[in-house]
């Protein structure tokens, strides 16, 4: 299945609200405007008081399945704010003829814009052969919160092969570029350098231009070595965690984000 969905939001003329200016679903990528559900992350961004628009991404079919080529592009106009969530977890499955599947996401956030992306976890089912590429470009003053969660197989299942690359640039300068490659055919992926045999891993990337030039002294969110707050070389922090299952992973990422938020109002420098 090939699909290319597209979403553009922009600040409406009076600057009081963000408007969806283009929304093209392409099954199985279904985009739906939604009402706020639950508290918004990053209290200091005060998204409830900001002209923000909320959209959900739902899957109109199982998968991605081997052979699928799914592309999503998102544009957030200057000063606009978008919260994009997905309705459920993504179960990546093998195709009938062992083909690879690909999902590619391209995001551009205009100057002073805000993009919050909270997809559900990606589950790499046995036999899958998936590649995910996400490329985010942030213009001057743009903010980003991006969560990625990866579960290695369904309950009690060996995972398939999965590669996820996330590249975030500030203008044309790289800020964060990481590829995770796991599963059969990847050397040492379950050894103690990469996952140490754990079945869930994830990260929350927070980019806030207000942090430019601030040296971070970030706390360790837990006493155990399963979560870390990593101050990137730029105005950004990566919360990264490993866990034995998706539930604990989500808790650890939330704990990490809470620890980050707790140190922000005091300047953290």
């Amino acid at each position: 299945m090939r699909a290319a969905a597209h979403l553009t939001v922009a600040l409406a003329g009076d600057g009081a609200r963000t408007r969806i200016t283009a929304l093209r679903s392409d099954p199985p990528l279904i985009l739906r405007p939604t009402n706020p559900a639950g508290p918004e992350p990053v209290a200091r961004w005060n998204l409830r008081e900001t002209p923000v628009v909320r959209v959900s991404l739902a899957a109109g079919a199982a998968g991605p399945v081997g052979g699928d080529d799914l592309r999503l592009s998102v544009e957030v106009g200057p000063g606009a704010a978008l919260v994009l969530r997905s309705v459920a977890a993504t179960l990546v499955l093998p195709g009938p003829h062992r083909q690879h599947s690909l999902s590619e996401t391209t995001v551009r956030v205009g100057a002073g814009g805000t993009f919050v992306w909270l997809p559900g976890p990606v589950i790499a089912a046995r036999g899958c052969h998936h590649r995910a590429i996400t490329h985010v470009t942030l213009e001057a003053g743009a903010r980003l919160l991006l969560r990625e969660e990866l579960l290695l197989g369904r309950h009690g299942e060996r995972p398939g092969a999965i590669r996820q690359r996330l590249r975030v640039c500030l203008g044309d300068r790289p800020l964060h570029d990481q590829e995770i490659a796991l599963g059969p055919g990847v050397e040492g992926w379950d050894g103690s350098a990469v996952t140490g045999g754990r079945r869930a891993l994830g990260s929350l990337l927070v980019v806030d231009p207000d942090w430019a030039g601030q040296p971070f002294g970030l706390p360790s969110p837990t006493a155990r070595a399963d979560t870390a707050l990593l101050s990137l070389s730029g105005p950004a922090v990566l919360v990264t965690a490993l866990a034995d299952d998706g539930l604990i992973l989500r808790q650890r990422l939330n704990t990490g984000l809470a620890a980050l938020e707790a140190c922000l109002p005091r300047g953290c420098a």
């Binding site: 690359r165 590249r167 300068r173 790289p174 800020l175 964060h176 570029d177 990481q178 590829e179 995770i180 490659a181 990847v186 050397e187 040492g188 992926w189 379950d190 050894g191 103690s192 350098a193 990469v194 996952t195 140490g196 891993l201 990260s203 971070f216 360790s220 070595a225 399963d226 979560t227 870390a228 707050l229 990593l230 101050s231 990137l232 070389s233 990566l238 990264t240 965690a241 490993l242």
Partner: protein, 244 residues
């Protein structure tokens, strides 16, 4: 029977660089690597790695992540100085930015720059070269280790493949040596692990060399989440045998 007259044999350029490669890749090269365990000390304490199979799994994971990135960046840095079309020190700056983006853990960025500085300091004396002086002037805080290694490899007369091979070898030899000191493992058995890893290291070096002319943005970015998390925790320990 008469013996053929002895002739002066001169090595091919590939053969000529081999002694440089041995020198650069040697654990005795004074670039400060001996003070670092490549994450092994934290892994031993936190993850409970105790034996040869555990060490081998760790090294395989490290090679496929850090090793792949290091090899490709060392190859690209070397090519930037040796290629007639290479952009020289300006390209090394760009490679350094790209590597910064690939090292999310601040503790590992600090270690990489410290090792890069030490590598460059040693390299400038061992293989004096104007480009190395230029690099040291352009990056007073020290270039990242793979960038410095690639530049020093170029000064030593190596090509991109030699630089990648030295880099990937260094990415496992350090932790393997540390394993002997940390765990008291049999050094013969540890070197047998390194020998078993040989084909993987060779393949990664070839892959790295193939990236010699890749645009910096397209270079590998393999991450190792556990190494990142453990590096941050390790940096806070009061008592430790290794700096990283």
């Amino acid at each position: 029977m008469t013996l053929p007259e002895t002739t002066q044999l001169s090595p091919t350029s590939e053969q000529a660089s081999l002694s440089g490669l041995l020198l650069l890749a040697s654990g005795r090269f004074p670039a400060g690597g001996h003070a670092h365990s490549g994450g092994l000390e934290a892994v031993v304490t936190v993850e409970g790695v105790r034996d040869i199979p555990g060490l081998e799994a760790f090294l395989r994971g490290r090679t496929a992540t850090t090793g792949v990135v290091t090899a490709a960046f060392a190859a690209a840095a070397c090519a930037a100085l040796t290629d007639p079309a290479g952009c020289g020190v300006a390209m090394l700056g760009e490679l350094d930015h790209e590597l910064d983006a690939r090292l999310p853990a601040p503790a590992l960025r600090t270690v990489s720059r410290r090792l890069g500085r030490q590598m460059l300091r040693a390299g400038r004396v061992v293989w004096p070269h104007a480009r190395l002086d230029e690099l040291a002037d352009a990056m007073p805080h020290g270039p990242h280790q793979p960038v410095a290694l690639g530049a020093v490899a170029a000064a030593a007369g190596l090509g991109a493949h030699g630089a990648a091979l030295a880099a990937v070898h260094e990415s496992v030899a350090g932790p393997a040596t540390a394993a002997v000191r940390l765990l008291g493992l049999d050094p013969f058995a540890v070197h047998a692990v390194l020998a078993r890893l040989g084909p993987s290291l060779d393949a990664i070096a070839v892959e790295g060399a193939a990236h010699a002319r890749t645009a910096p943005a397209g270079l590998p970015a393999r991450g190792a989440p556990l190494l990142d998390i453990l590096a941050e925790h390790h940096a806070t320990w009061e008592v430790r045998l290794f700096a990283s």
